[in-house]
């Protein structure tokens, strides 16, 4: 049986069917992402502290450009087919797929950076102080504020903060992924080598202590697991921010991958249809393009919301 209205518009809608179909699908997608954005708003206003500056902004900006570029190339691919130029259209489609792969690749790198970034918390204040003195030569209020800034951003560091909640961020030697206190206890690990991030505040700029803090950075310090009551990578369960960050960007990345698969199909197998039904292939690409622009559109909101605000 032949599928009706793949090329000719229906009299009542004035459109070929797939176009109505993709818009109905996109309408449902708006609600899906809308629900998650609403969750984000609720989580954020309900949080006592909302972290800032935990993501890499230059990389995020670059990835935004990559996705915007792919939106332009896919519309160019469609326009080329519309003008009867299959070769040019295929070239633009190929560029779009490359952009999609680049986006996913960069996102993977960003995810990996989070999975290897850790926060630890000592059982008591004495443990925290001893560690700060060893790592930064100081456990004064400015150092602690700098440590808070690493976890929550500079603005939050100005607020009063319970030192028992102080989390020290940094990396573990060998950059392992997904380690947790439960995992380390299960494997009977007694110590880890922890390289703390330097406190964000310029502490005593005038006497050159900043430079001193610099020199302490990236030096590994032995931390006893039995002294800690928290150790976690930046994974979804680390805090609400990362939970919603991974939920939103993960769902978005799944859309990017889905779009890339559809466009790859058109890229590799579109040639046969072009010979027999060029208009139908053009319409297919238009529909794929509409989905692709939607994915770009979601990112246009995700980027400022998660990286900048």
């Amino acid at each position: 049986m032949e599928i009706p209205y793949t090329i000719t518009p229906r009299r009542d809608t004035g459109l070929y069917n797939a176009k109505v179909g993709i818009w109905l699908f996109l309408a449902s997608e708006v609600m899906l992402f809308g629900a998650l954005f609403s969750s984000y708003v609720l989580l954020r206003v309900g949080a006592d502290f909302w972290p800032h500056g935990l993501l890499n902004i230059p990389i995020g900006t670059f990835n935004t450009w990559v996705l915007i570029t792919s939106s332009v190339t896919v519309v160019m691919a469609w326009a080329s087919l519309k003008m009867g130029n299959f070769k040019k259209g295929r070239m633009y489609l190929g560029l779009t797929i490359l952009c999609a792969l680049a986006f996913v690749g960069i996102k993977t790198k960003e995810y990996n950076d989070k999975f290897t970034h850790y926060a630890i918390r000592f059982k008591d204040e004495a443990g925290t102080s001893a560690f700060l003195k060893e790592a930064f030569g100081n456990d004064d209020a400015a150092t602690k504020a700098g440590i808070v800034a690493n976890t929550y951003g500079l603005d939050e560091a100005k607020r009063p903060f319970d030192v028992r909640d102080l989390q020290i961020t940094g990396h573990l030697e060998g950059n392992p992924r997904f380690w947790s206190l439960a995992k380390l206890n299960a494997s009977k690990t007694e110590t880890v080598q922890f390289m703390p991030d330097a406190p964000q505040h310029p502490r005593h700029a005038k006497d050159g202590a900043e430079a001193k803090a610099e020199s302490h950075e990236h030096k590994a310090h032995t931390v006893k697991i039995s002294d800690l009551n928290y150790l976690s990578a930046y994974v979804p369960k680390h805090n609400t921010y990362f939970a919603i960050y991974f939920a939103l960007t993960g769902l978005h990345a799944a859309h990017v991958i889905g779009g890339a698969i559809v466009m790859s199909y058109l890229f590799f197998f579109g040639g046969a249809m072009w010979k027999t039904q060029p208009e139908r292939l053009t319409n297919r690409l238009e529909v794929a393009g509409l989905f692709w622009h939607f994915v770009d559109l979601v990112w246009i909101f995700l980027f400022p919301v998660l990286y900048l605000l």
């Binding site: 009542d12 809608t13 004035g14 459109l15 176009k19 109505v20 818009w23 109905l24 309408a27 708006v30 609600m31 809308g34 629900a35 609403s38 708003v41 609720l42 206003v45 309900g46 006592d48 902004i57 900006t61 935004t64 450009w65 915007i68 570029t69 939106s71 332009v72 519309v75 160019m76 326009a79 519309k82 003008m83 393009g289 509409l290 622009h293 939607f294 770009d296 559109l297 246009i300 909101f301 980027f303 400022p304 919301v305 990286y307 900048l308 605000l309």
Partner: protein, 108 residues
């Protein structure tokens, strides 16, 4: 943008696409620049960021997705979506200070 039937019209459209491409890149730079300028008021920051994002999404939806000149059935679909999307937002606002028991630290 017409019905995209003639090659002349398409060539004109492509020029529009390129202009929008530039605008989107610049829009991204503006958003990021705002982060580094660091405005004191959270609400001003959020408003500007969402305003830039809205302009960008208007350009993508309006021109790349051809919503500027689309058929009625699609406008009707999107109007319904907009209604439910806004309803969802309204419900969120409504429940903003009404958290389930034991889900906040300081009992806000």
């Amino acid at each position: 943008m017409g019905d995209h039937s003639s090659p002349e019209q398409l060539k004109k459209d492509i020029r529009v696409y390129m202009t929008i491409f530039g605008a989107l890149l610049v829009g991204t730079v503006l958003t990021v620049a705002m982060y580094y300028v660091h405005i004191a008021s959270v609400w001003v920051t959020v408003t500007i960021a969402l305003a830039i994002a809205s302009v960008k999404s208007f350009l993508v939806a309006g021109y790349f997705m051809h919503l500027i000149s689309e058929k009625k059935v699609i406008y009707a679909t999107l109007a319904t979506t907009a209604f439910f999307f806004l309803a969802l937002g309204a419900l969120t606002m409504w429940s903003m200070h009404d958290f389930p028991f034991m889900t906040t630290v300081n009992g806000k």
